[in-house]
Symmetry: D3
């Protein structure tokens, strides 16, 4: 196919096979696991595609059955996977969720030496990125390896050259970083190069040491981004721009099945809102709704809403108008 | 995307959600079913895509969760689904397999009034078909409804106009035809318009009343096609052309898990062979191998081999050379 | 068997195989489904049988494995199935539940052209109906087909001739009616012929356009029935007769597992109360309790309480005396 | 119901809940089990009912969920369960199958002190037995308890008084007998009172010490029965009467899924043949076929064929004519 | 191995295979069950081992696959099983949980005549018990059989001779006692011989007829034990000694998955606290926490916390200091 | 515990969590996986323990739920795990089996950087090894890492010092070795230091380049070992000593469920035979039988026979006498 694509959003990162226990309780005693997929960036790309936008995902997978699965799944959801490379020599990463009713749910990664951790600058096609409107990045990728970190910086460079907006979600994962100080430093540096920042409150605390929402927003705005949307769980989000700081309340869900992936749904909802021409506040409202949907399903991507889902959700909840 | 696609094969037909019992035995007593997909034409398209070719699938699905599933699954396998329409008013068809160890496995269709049965000529994009090399059709589609029958004839007309080769698999399904005489008549008529015919032996008997392989091949060749490849189960296939009639032996499988879908794998293997430039006899050998793979897995499409699978299979079996 | 049966209640309607996903979430992503049965009228018949009464169910099933399953299941629960016919030419209907945590759970029917939709007046045995005390009907059956609608009217005629009380549950299902106006008209007409009416509040709104409980009860009483019991979810029910209008509070359940089938449990509880000689108010209390039981189990019939279940329930809750 | 029943066959014995491992291998490591039912006599009753005959089953079950399950299941299959009593004080028996690929599959009983072991003469209704044509008994019931043994003898007495034919299947189960000598003695004594005897070859060896088929048949015929049909596994059966001794070959099955229950299917097929007016040899042929069906399914009763199944089986196999 | 073991706690009692339904609802309709283990005393032993202490379990199991499973499982958890005997002639007991959302969850025992019920005094090794610090007993064991009752008394005698502290949990199970009066009498008698008593509030009511916590504690203290810790569900526990009576509040759990086994976790937590040198009040706090963990998992032992779990729990909850 | 242990066999190596697909077919399409354990050395240790011997396993596991599982499982099987260390910083390895009906089943390792790969000489306790009779090693461990390779050599040194017999199974796994030449060299070097060698025929071909059984045996005997037992699949094994070379035929299995783990069962059977005092030829016969058992079960260790299993197997097969 000789194709002229116009992507709304291009994103870059690792996706792994996710094994979800069929029961809650310590991993030690679980007998059955179901195969799903997980990866912050492909979650966002899938979320955007389900909301009707064009998203492309740049990544590397092992040349193995798990890589086949992920590639087919993501393509199936309508995301462009033409930039996904396959590596004969390194495996597709996998991870396991432990679902407990007491304490925090934990994930166990098997991604050291994975195909994705070998991504480097040569995996980026400048022309591919150039034709998009937004570049979406998370703080996970630079922690995967030296070459992944360089790849992120190269992508930023290309984006800036071609006037893409850079959207950054810190997505702090202590487990992928060997050096916590380097983590903080790198993430703050990428924030300084971003246009839109989507941190969670606890991440902001780690990065800035402050718990005051307004202070956090202002500090981030000073560092670089022109839009900061900070997620505060079920309470929704705070929106900060040079002009104003607003709290936009979230939507309560009867029963939270799985909190993981809600931040990615939020990012997809917000970007979809922006690209479809909604106001910033409306976009955050859409993001809150998308996040609520994601809380209700076990996997990372299965709960991501379609645009029809959101329309029917707001058909009841009112108040979103173009 | 403004795209100039060059499809190797375009196919047209209904795909349904297939529910496979987790145990063998009468449907009456089965408690658990797993969701898969099934549809002769999409099976072939997926088979071709896994073998490295470009295939497009024209169809109609309900605007429902099952339609979402099928569309994503087929797209995920690399098949072009740009010509798959979604119908708000009619559901995606479903069917159930009964897997028994004594007697024949039976399928139960719920496809009356399905979205696909409402396909008509207006669902065909002449430009889309025109750019392909082969049009693949089966004898199922004309039996689905009057409008489906007209659609098949319209597709043949377009194919002939644009010099596509027409590949036809009779795929006789008594359950989809109300009038058995009309079935025979229609299928024979389409055969007369086809370039390549891929019948099974039992189908040939139904259509021609003969059990003599050579006689069958010659009769079919007289009716119209220039190539007839008749499948004779584990014994492989008979290849007939104006020039010669050959028997090409099949490959034995240790344990047949599910015979359904093997014919579609055969078609994919044969077409892949032709398009990749193999001789007719080599193409049949590839078809036999692809059919053997399909016998070893429960669903219709999960057993379809990749090109790597075939290469490694013939690495052991020898004898296939370009 | 040469049998003289005295049925407490005879009911008439379609039952289908119900496939319930093993997980919550969009149908698109569900892999496993479990087989159950569902059908408002057989739910009520089974509910009555579990409460110790004699119930007969008139229906038509396909001559297939799913029909075998339903016939055996319903007979197994103690319901008389001597009036269930089997159809060689049309299949047993099936349907799928989508269980979601956000938005409404939806069902997907595959019942167009089902065996049951071909029921007609000739399937009614006047002698069989004549020996019963109550005829139970729902608003689903007249919507299935023209012949089903005639069958309902014929059953009403027979019931009136032999002095059976007619119990009607509107059970509005938009999906089975092609013409919504005809639906309203038909249901109101059947109400005018009924002795006991068991609507839900939202159904009453659709039929009468009012949300005022007292006004609704009085309007219905004016149309024909001498007893109206309107269900208002967890809040219980309103009982209306010529003499009085009372609210009878319901029973809270810790966790609602599946709301579908609760109305049928309610009908069974109410009829069981009446037939066992309880007062109207006590019968509604029993109905509320039966409805609460049904909320706690996934399938339609598995949660229907036995009489021992209700006795032990009221052993704790007090206040029901003969 | 005031009923005049004419049963073809009445049988008497214990039925238990059967737990079948989802995987093969030592019970120690199996995690999942599926619930089925098992009991030689109810297997036969269900087999007869599926073949179109009227069968009644006399038994006792606990007043518990497992008893509810068995009662509903057996009733659902069309067997008359009006003589099944429920015991408040003793549980329904359960047992577990161990399915192994090496060595013999073993069953583990939990039936000591079960409700059924408390059956006694007072549980027999003379009028009920009197109206039947055949009384079916196995050698399991007299081993369950003293009172069960007395019940079997009382049933024989009633059968003789009312001219029922007594059909006896030794069904030797060492695990239910405390005293092996008493077992042999009792079973031989019941054989002497039987009209039709249906032993297996290995059972004959245990009882008579001989392995010579003709000698075995003649010895049994001398002891009492007028018809002896001895099962010899896949090789079919030997038929012995005063007049002749014949070997009637069995039907091979591609893959034996579970041998347990095949003898009961055989008994049902044979009795159905006799009652439907087939010759003895035809009846054995039907019995062989029924046994073959039962081998192909995991549970005890799910593989029992319907009459339609047998007709279609002999449609291929030929040779059975009324 | 010639071993000098110093056990912290030795316990004595029956453990059975526990079958847990995969779904909630009446046992009648459940198809799948998962295999776990259950037994109050081995639960406590496992709980202690997970908390870092040395525990030994004296018991008898059948020489069967279920016995193999239990022995391996308990040994695997680090409990000393050198005193577990295997019985060729009697089976390992089994039981089934019914998990319902309305009413009480019920268990169904199949333990009559089990291997464990044949334990007697000769199964006790005085030297083994002598080397331990605590003897843990429950009120279940003396109800299993006469010989089990004698075994408990013999164990008490040995414990007193060697200065072990006797810890007693009444664990009233009506189903194991034929004579309810004897049950009360025996349990009160064992209480009079115990040093530490761990009753539940409802048990105390049954034994003493009082509902007043202080009165209960004082009455028990008068009977014999020097420490009484009475569990009051989610409200925690009351601690009574000669010196004082204190209420120590419990920990709320978001969702109680399965209440069974929480009392055993409590016992393990309390004993671990004592043995590790915590104060009585701290030990009760640890016991409350251990009980909370056990509520969140389906099986009996899978939810028992490790010492690391408790440390991290109190890392958040504060207030426990050595 | 202050313990004087006398181990029959001590072994050393990595064990991982093994995920087995519930269905056959490409990993890409599998949804459910069950958790098992796998590791050649712990397989042998478990096999020995089930055969009644004392075995100790030296290893390192992550301080995570999967490590907890493996440690408990192996201890549960009666293997001494006192020398298993837990690593806070590196995870327990995992691997996945792909079960296919066509081509070879493949395993996918996630063991790079696992806890076990960080074992080094300091993890060996000389006193622990010194008290055993045999040291069992495989060719997997030296390939895991440099430090693992040194650990193996150190263990050999200790064994030689304390007169343990060294049993070596080459267990060639190309996937764990970066350098194939080094693999060959290392394995041949360890063979030269071994007393008993247990290669497979295909491994012998890789190492020696020969396919002639006698030649292979003699070459190996020349290199060092005094006993060589070479496995030739279902054909059993060749036994070679200085004195003689014998072929000892294997036992056919009806259906091979999973070939993986059969070599470990063979090793356990052979060592058990030797230690129990059987002749070499009898020990190989026991090894063949143990291997046959292992073929019939899906996991690696669940099919390992107990001594009772072997006795009852040879009860039928005759010919093994002490």
């Amino acid at each position: 196919m000789d194709v002229v694509i116009i992507m709304d959003v291009v994103t870059l990162g690792e996706t792994m096979v996710l094994f979800v226990p069929t029961e809650t309780g310590p991993l030690k005693y679980i007998y059955q696991f179901n195969k799903h997929i997980g990866g912050a960036e492909s979650n966002v790309a899938i979320g955007l595609s389900k909301l009707g936008l064009k998203a492309g995902w740049i990544s590397k997978l092992g040349k193995d059955g798990f890589g086949d699965y992920i590639e087919s799944f993501v393509r199936g959801e309508g995301v462009d996977v033409s930039q996904v490379k396959r590596d004969e020599n390194h495996p597709t990463g996998v991870f396991f969720k432990e679902r407990v009713e007491i304490g925090e749910s934990v994930v166990y990664y098997y991604r050291k030496g994975s195909a994705a951790s070998f991504m480097d600058e040569s995996d980026l096609d400048e022309n591919y990125i150039a034709q998009a409107k937004y570049l979406h990045l998370t703080g996970i990728t630079p922690g995967l390896s030296e070459s992944c970190c360089r790849t992120v910086y190269k992508a930023i460079e290309i984006a800036k050259k071609h006037d893409l907006k850079i959207v950054f979600d810190p997505n702090i994962r202590f487990k992928v970083w060997d050096d916590k100080e380097k983590m903080k430093e790198t993430i703050l540096d990428i924030i300084s190069k971003s246009d839109i920042l989507l941190p969670g409150l606890s991440e902001a605390k780690i990065l800035l040491g402050s718990s005051d929402e307004k202070e956090i927003l202002n500090t981030f705005l000073d560092i670089g981004p022109e839009i900061v949307v900070m997620k505060v769980g079920e309470n929704g989000a705070f929106l900060g721009t040079k002009e104003e700081t607003t709290h936009i309340p979230g939507f309560k869900v009867k029963r939270i099945i799985d909190p993981i992936g809600a931040g990615d749904a939020f990012a997809a909802g917000f970007l979809a809102g922006l690209i479809k021409g909604y106001t910033l506040q409306e976009a955050v409202k859409l993001a809150n709704a998308a996040g609520a949907f994601a809380l209700t399903v076990k996997g990372d991507v299965e709960g991501l809403p379609t645009w029809e889902d959101l329309l029917s959700f707001f058909g009841n909840e009112k108040g979103i108008t173009r």
